[in-house]
């Protein structure tokens, strides 16, 4: 069981961003991707989620052996991909609770209705875990939320949707240290043998709280170096200069 990204090539407006990227994330593992600005980290997460601004010009993505490269964004989500956004969208007039209900409902077979009582009970328990006030259930999705509240909301959605593979795109950006701990706690509570994580970050700090099994360095649309958790510490200390040396 794994998420396999195989020789992935993608362009945006004709400009190549991903240039033959290979990565395997087995279920049960946390992989971190670090890399300088512009290396294609966020693009990778969006391409795997199926964003149609990017054209996939080669390669494929396999989810537990099934090629999801041709699936729509919502189909990939229902198949088990979850993207926690760096900049979550605001959806005015749609309450958080209704949004989550619609997302859960979308996972049920036709004609089957969500059990509203059980749904709310579960949502409240998870909100408590993330130290989110109950008022967020009736507030419009992300509208007027602080940076930290938006990121907690992403993790709440991740917890409610129970995905197979989670892509966290710079989840630590805009978070103070307390919020970071809460978010990390939420992510850690979801770690299991059945689930894989890809954590995209600029800073080693997040990885103090979400301990990765593997760390990869991305540059110019490819993975250029892989190692254990210690690689992140090394990068924090020496930066990405080694990329220039090898170039």
């Amino acid at each position: 069981m794994s998420l396999i990204i195989e020789n992935l090539h993608a362009t945006v407006d004709g400009t190549p961003i991903l240039k033959g990227l290979n990565l395997e994330i087995p279920a049960g593992e946390v992989h971190a991707i670090m890399g300088p600005n512009g290396s294609g980290k966020s693009t990778l997460s969006k391409v795997v989620a199926g964003h149609d601004d990017y054209e996939v010009t080669g390669g494929r993505v396999l989810l537990d052996g099934v090629d999801i490269s041709e699936l729509e964004v919502d189909e990939r989500s229902r198949a088990g991909i979850f993207l926690a956004f760096q900049y979550p969208s605001e959806v005015p007039g749609v309450s958080n609770a209704n949004f989550l209900r619609a997302a859960r409902q979308a996972r049920l077979p036709d004609g089957e209705e969500i059990d509203a009582v059980a749904f709310y009970k579960e949502m409240y328990a998870k909100m408590d875990e993330l130290e989110m006030d109950r008022k967020f259930t009736s507030r419009s999705v992300n509208e007027g939320f602080s940076g930290g509240e938006k990121k907690r909301n992403e993790i709440l959605q991740m917890m409610m949707l129970d995905p197979r593979y989670c892509l966290l795109d710079e989840t630590d950006s805009g978070l103070d240290i307390d919020a970071l701990k809460v978010v990390a706690k939420g992510v850690n509570s979801m770690r299991s043998e059945a689930r894989g994580f890809l954590v995209i970050t600029h800073y080693q700090r997040l990885l103090d709280y979400i301990k990765p099994d593997h760390v990869h360095v991305m540059a110019d649309g490819q993975i250029v170096k892989s190692g254990g958790a210690e690689l992140a510490l090394e990068l924090e200390k020496s930066g990405y200069d080694f990329l220039k040396q090898t170039a």
Binding site: A49, E72, D74, F85
Partner: protein, 390 residues
């Protein structure tokens, strides 16, 4: 009670006026972009007796009045007057937004309606069950005095899917000193019907009125909303939520008239256009000479769900006083791709995602009603329309 001769005089005068005026025409500013031909009601006879259907769930706590066309079939007239008994309260105001002939016709013909005149409070639900080919001319008059708190819900519902009924209705609101009025109208007519609604309101000092309309039905709507804030610290909120699709045209003209100093008005119209729908919004904020300290806002927002729909907006402002805060604006936008991507990334398919965003757009305005029961009803009416659009 007005002696018959007085009533006859009102009607005769209105009829003479009606006959002396011309139907709206192409070159009139108040009909710019509008389908002025639709307003020509010549040859239209009043509809006959109406019929009933299963009634929607009642608003808790409200007193309900049900009309089958012009006949009141349920509701006791203890707290209200029937228009037939108080014809002197028929809206006398001439249309100032382009339809004097239609308002004269309404005055000459309106036989039925409700007059809510209170100095304490009232909570009223009026349901017009509409059927038959021809013209129906109902009236609602709300006169609130002495700090009264009034809530009125008025619904227009066709009893079948095919009758082409033309509803020409008048609504008059006088909110006296210190009163609080919430007035919601839902238009749920069938796709062959037309609605012409001429609404006039005047707010006195310290009055606070919220007037809202929800349009989901009818093939053609012409709505003229004239609101005067006429006393210090009067506050007028005007809301409209419309969800038209192919075969539907909604033409709304508004006038926010500030006649006294330190008055407030806020207008928010939200249209969600599907298919080949067409909307026209023309609004004017008019601040009288001497109405200093006016605080007035006007916003029309159009959400374009297709490439074929058409939204026309003509916001306007005329200020004749000093020290005023006024803003007006109109926007037309599509659902943002990033929002759709976000919703899809949670497993919601693209069509449901677009509808969710669009419903949210309407709900944002509905929430300004700040009345849980009315909000729930308005959301239900809008949701039903969304569900019907494929």
């Amino acid at each position: 009670m007005t002696p018959p001769s007085a009533l006859e005089a009102i009607r005769a005068e209105a009829l003479a006026k009606y006959e002396s005026l011309d139907w709206p025409a192409r070159n009139e500013e108040n009909w710019r972009f509008g389908s002025w031909k639709e307003a020509n009601l010549s040859g239209l006879e009043p509809v006959g007796a109406g019929v009933g259907i299963d009634l929607p769930e009642a608003i808790e706590g409200a007193q309900r009045f049900v009309f089958h066309n012009a006949e009141l079939v349920s509701g006791s007239a203890d707290s209200v007057q029937l228009l037939a008994h108080a014809p002197e309260l028929l809206p006398q105001t001439e249309s100032r937004l382009g339809s004097p002939k239609l308002s004269a016709l309404h005055r000459a013909q309106s036989q039925h309606g409700i007059v809510i005149k209170t100095d304490s409070g009232a909570d009223i639900e009026i349901i017009h069950l509409v059927s038959g080919e021809g013209l129906l001319t109902p009236t609602v008059v709300i006169i609130a005095d002495d700090g009264a708190k009034v809530r009125v819900l008025e619904r227009f519902i066709s009893t079948n899917d095919f009758d082409a009924t033309t509803v020409l209705c008048g609504a008059d609101l006088i909110a006296g000193e210190g009163t609080k009025v919430t007035y919601l109208v839902t238009q749920e007519l069938n796709a062959n019907s037309k609605l012409i609604r001429l609404a006039d309101s005047r707010l006195e000092a310290l009055a606070h009125a919220k007037q809202a309309v929800i349009h989901t039905g009818a093939k053609w709507v012409r709505e003229e909303t004239y609101s005067t804030v006429d006393g210090m610290d009067a506050k007028s909120e005007i809301l409209s939520v419309a969800v038209p699709t192919t075969g539907q045209e909604y033409d709304q003209r508004t006038f926010q008239h500030h006649g006294a100093r330190d008055t407030y008005s806020d207008l928010l119209f939200k249209n969600t256009l599907f298919g080949k729908a067409k909307t026209i919004f023309s609004g004017l904020i008019f601040v009288d000479d001497g109405a200093h300290g006016t605080d007035a806002y006007q916003t029309c927002r159009n959400l374009m769900m297709t490439n074929e729909c058409e939204a026309n907006s003509m916001p306007g402002l005329e200020i004749n006083a000093d020290d005023v805060k006024c803003s007006h604006g109109s926007t037309s936008a599509r659902v943002s791709d990033e929002e759709i991507f976000y919703l899809q990334a949670r497993g919601i398919d693209s069509k449901s995602a677009r509808n969710l965003v669009a419903q949210g757009f309407s709900i944002e305005a509905i929430e300004k009603l700040e009345d849980e029961q009315l909000e729930a009803l308005a959301i239900e009416v809008v949701a039903r329309k969304f569900a019907a659009i494929e």
